[in-house]
Symmetry: none
Subunit: 425 residues, 2 copies
């Protein structure tokens, strides 16, 4: 099974938007054992989309088209696929009804009706996240005998909607069509507080041992997400999935032995999810005082459903007067160890929480209180303990803010692990 990806949108060719969708789709196809030898971008032009689709179908068994399903004049993917299929468009009454429902009595804008159009013989992939439904379009194989069929999928270009449809429908449908039982499985170990190069150094011996085994290790790093160590294994045969799981379990244990507490989560477990479950289990309530991050830490924590169980709230103490009046920070520099300590204790008191976490620092572009850009103090108050960590972070304003938020959450994670271990021992 070979599947190409065709990203549609003039903004992609003009470089106004970087096409990260086809990289993500390529990743998902690889994980499912489906080859993808060719991926292309084409603009919002009917003839060129048709030509690109015909070219792709000449080489591959399947094509995923990404983008051009919206309601505006430049969204012409449906029409191009219909031409390749040699059919017309029909308007689907169910999607029409869903559109009316969505607009709740208000007039549906005339343009939106085209989202109910579908090439004859094609069917919809229903959307829960967004609004545009996707399409599954069977195409006769020009080179094939009777009954031989290829397939074109159309999914929206909005990443969240695209991901839901590709992950939830397209990849499983391709696997089913391929009739193959090879499986490629990956597991991510999430590491925070250790730079990527150091992680690679620690893991290097294991990398050599795995050579030629069908199991590989790779590294992906990202400011907000930390370092992700990816273990990938390829197995086949009737018990391929169970075997893959065993291999991944074993490899996870090997890597945990090397990396210790630096491994904070698995797969989609973000730092905030890990912190949330540690707080929830311990029955503790947290409050956050943020200066340079301006709400980033609170926003990350409250992205976890059920946060009200363990998150009392936060104070974005951006002005110095707010820090002094509400948090009891003394006169003098607000980018300091002492200010961080008082902010942490002050916010826990103010919001009635068990633990107070604070961040104060210089995000830039200008220095402040005689401190250079990147100076950050993270405070933690958890009576009877208290801690302040001084950081010197690199990067521009946005990077310093994101790094500071990640460090603060990781400090909290370590403190929770230590104190919880002390309690249970």
């Amino acid at each position: 099974m070979d599947c190409e990806v065709l990203a549609i949108g003039t903004e992609l060719l003009l470089g106004q938007v970087v096409d990260s969708n086809s990289a993500w789709i390529g990743q998902q196809l690889a994980l499912a054992g489906i080859s993808s030898h060719y991926q292309a971008k084409v603009g919002d032009n009917h003839d060129r989309i048709v030509a690109a689709l015909r070219g792709a179908l000449g080489r591959a068994d399947a094509v995923v088209c990404c983008g051009g399903l919206g309601p505006t004049q430049d969204d012409i993917t449906r029409e191009a696929i219909a031409e390749v299929m040699g059919v017309g468009l029909r308007r689907d009454p169910e999607v029409e009804a869903a559109l009316r429902e969505r607009f709740r009595g208000r007039d549906v804008p005339a343009m939106n009706w085209k989202q109910a159009d579908v090439p004859e013989g094609a069917s919809f992939i229903t959307a829960s996240v967004g609004t545009a439904p996707g399409l599954v379009c069977p195409v006769k194989d020009p080179a094939g005998g009777p009954g031989k069929e290829k397939v074109v999928y159309a999914v929206p270009g909005v990443p969240a909607e695209m991901r839901e449809m590709v992950g939830g429908f397209v990849v499983p449908d391709l696997v089913r069509r391929s009739g193959d039982h090879a499986t490629i499985r990956s597991r991510f170990l999430r590491v925070w507080g250790v730079p990527e190069s150091r992680v690679a150094e620690i893991v290097a011996p294991r990398l050599s041992e795995l050579e030629g085994t069908g199991t590989t290790i790779a590294f992906l790093a990202n400011v907000a997400e930390g370092v992700r160590v990816r273990v990938t294994t390829r197995t086949s045969g009737p018990s391929a999935e169970a075997e893959a799981e065993r291999t991944l379990d074993k490899e996870e244990a090997e890597l945990r032995a090397l990396l210790g507490d630096a491994v904070g989560g698995i797969d989609d477990e973000s730092l905030e999810v890990v912190v949330a479950s540690l707080l929830g289990e311990a029955g503790l309530r947290l409050a956050v005082a943020e200066s340079l991050t301006g709400g980033l830490v609170g926003a990350r924590l409250t992205s976890v459903p059920g946060a009200s169980g363990w998150f009392a709230g936060g104070l974005v103490s951006y002005g110095s007067d707010v820090k002094r009046e509400l948090l009891g920070v003394d006169e003098g520099p607000v980018v300091s160890e002492d200010a961080a300590r008082r902010m942490a204790a002050g916010v826990a008191r103010l919001l009635g929480a068990d633990i107070g976490l604070s961040l104060t620092g210089v995000a830039g572009p200008e220095p402040q209180d005689g401190q250079p850009v990147g100076t950050v103090f993270v405070g933690l108050s958890w009576p009877p303990s208290a801690a302040v960590e001084a950081l010197r972070l690199s990067g521009d304003r946005q990077l310093v803010r994101e790094r500071a938020a990640t460090y603060a959450l990781d400090l909290l994670r370590h403190m929770l692990l230590e104190r919880t271990a002390t309690r249970t021992s």
Copy 2:
């Protein structure tokens, strides 16, 4: 002149690296007035690179190949281009000498010598940033008469090296070959608070009027960034750039006349930047009380440098007790108009600000206070005015939160525009 881009590397297809190079190249081509209708990614496979190159040369006048020029076994771009040209490779003595120089007496690793190879009839693009030289390869046009020639450029995949060669050599060379002095310029009008389909409907008449003029309008939508209306114009001749600016100015005026206050910014101006400058100009200080957004609004506002001049701070009042004790919200449901009103007034009082903005609502996954997921109240307190807007937003937890933050900032923007207009009139 039409130039395609071919990004070479299996890691791109597997999604381990996002191909941002071709977006950058696309941007540079557009700025120089060179069309690019098709861009593709292909893996490190000789036959597929050859086929992709032949396909591209069948359609376009020129191709930029990006990647596959390094010293390792999977770097095979030179060989593939030589096959397409129908020639062999020769080893260039000057590049050999440069390699010896670079390794300063140490043995040149055997693999590196291939970097001195060049297809017969091609020449080098010298590199100052990196190590791999680029290539300019003339190719006979299979469809052309005598003297008719196409061209393939090969540049490294390392972004800094690629940018130096494309900007410094490839684009100027293409402009010289085209003999054309066309230029393509774009401008974005940023719209918030109006859905994409409605924006398209409003702009539709203008779209028809522009048909065949060389100026086009397109739409890009994104939850955090709102709708961007892109105007693109193509001009040529000695005063192409000035003419393009005039056309964009005129078109901006036409669209502002249609869209009115919904146009909040131009190009990179985000909603928070616009709000920041309105607050700064008016000499007003803002405070924010966030419930369901948990700090998102504060984080967006403080991403703007110099926020301390107009941002007093915020309270993330996640727990109901915090809302009541610090913000004076009454007993009863906290997802309500009344709670939003009191939160806005309360946070302005608490933090000593001129304006209070508040958000309370249900992000999900569960309903709250008898209200369904997506119910949001945005409050604004600016004595003597006060306003509350009730919203019903669609999407999952993260989307509801992001949409709520955008709506709140847009409400503030409108209020600032109105009050500032009243004052100056």
